[in-house]
Amino acid sequence: MRNNSVVNHMIACNQCDSLLPKPILSEGQNALCGCCGAMLFSKKKDAINRTIAVAIAGLVLFFPATLLPIIGISAAGLYNDASLLDCITILINSKNYIIAFAVFMFTIAIPSVRLITALYISSCIKFNRVKPSLLVFFRSYHLLDTWTMVHVFFMGVIVSMYKLSSLADMTIDGGLLSLVLLLVCSTLVSVTMDEHSIWDELEKSLEQ
């Protein structure tokens, strides 16, 4: 396998396809492409433990973030509030199935699947139980990256709060706080997860 040993010491830029020697990084360093400046990979500190911690926190926060009311309004003695789940049920009741599906997928299903995947992969590596099925999980983790939209939903809540504040008396409920914390966790998972070394780890363990 003469050619393979060369391949293991080279890396190609994902943006411009330049062939570069693979640098060996110490913890906390990034490698950039010399041709176009895109990030090749980075090595992160204590990645596995941090990912497990953040993923568990995020999964626990999913329940208050979806079930507790986010904001409520009151006018002329009437009061109404809504949680994330209420938003989706109202869309289903008004027969807007496409948007109901999109909102459910982008704000609940995909982010939670992504957190579960991160937790599963990290704990399997931590306890030395690498199986071939992890490849499927990790590939799906990559695919779901673009479709996580908790941050956009949060921004949407902020804009509608601004709109509602001129309309009626508005109250902020516990759901909003859980949503902020969930957003922090789901962003932190992508920050703490060291994808490059996890791939290396999987490759090493599965070759045997």
Binding site: A12, L19, N80, I98, R139, M149, F153, E203
Partner: protein, 224 residues
């Protein structure tokens, strides 16, 4: 400038970024088993198709109302642009600007950016490679942010529900808007940024065509 993986008969796995020795046009990655090609097959055709679909969806998304506002039982439907005009009349300029940028400027500039990228991947352009790379990153980054207006309308419809007094109902325009956003994300995903660099090399370094030769004699990593 020609130290490209394609010319060396190597391919970069799009999922796990492992460099593979290519034995054929299309093969499974030796590490994560994803089937991939050195360049995304028919990348420009797919991107063009998704972008045109998004452009078509942009028309009904702006013609049909996004939401219907009921005040004391009286319905008041408004499209994206009408809604913005109402906010300006009410003197809420910051909200008007945010909604205008998020639901009109961003989708339109994303579609235009995709057309520019496709043109750049085919013809000689005045844009430098750095600018083209930046444009691709911006289009990719903007993807989910166009969903902002959909989420705003969703939250409004759920919260503003005070029976006869005031209530908000979701209208048909939002479905087309959601489809448009999803289509532009698909378009950006199917575009292969490496085509920009290939095209630049072709025009500026007089290398006619990088023809990859898959003459690697090594054993297949997953053969037999």
């Amino acid at each position: 400038m020609s130290n490209k993986a394609l010319a060396a008969g190597l391919g970069n796995c799009p999922q796990c970024h492992k460099l593979n020795v290519m034995h054929a046009e299309k093969q499974a990655c030796s590490r994560c088993l994803t089937v991939f090609s050195t360049r995304k097959p028919k990348s420009l055709e797919y991107t063009l198709a998704w972008t045109i679909a998004a452009l078509v969806m942009f028309i009904p998304a702006n013609l049909y109302p996004m939401m219907v506002f009921y005040t004391l039982g009286k319905p008041d439907a408004s499209t994206i642009l009408e809604g913005i005009a109402i906010f300006i009349q009410m003197g809420m300029l910051p909200v008007a600007i945010i909604i205008f940028i998020a639901s009109f400027v961003v989708p339109l500039s994303k579609i235009m950016g995709l057309f520019t990228l496709m043109y750049n991947a085919k013809r000689k352009t005045k844009l430098t490679l750095k600018q083209q790379g930046k444009l691709y990153h911006v289009v990719e980054f903007l993807g989910p942010w166009s969903m902002l207006d959909v989420f705003v309308v969703t939250v409004m419809a759920a919260v503003v529900n005070l029976g006869f007094l005031t209530s908000v109902e979701v209208a048909s325009g939002i479905t087309y808007f959601t489809l448009m956003v999803v289509f532009t994300i698909f378009a950006a995903e199917s575009f292969d940024p490496r085509l920009l660099w290939d095209n630049h090399q072709k025009h500026n370094h007089r290398i006619t065509e990088t023809n990859p030769k898959y003459n690697n004699k090594d054993e297949l990593p997953h053969g037999k």
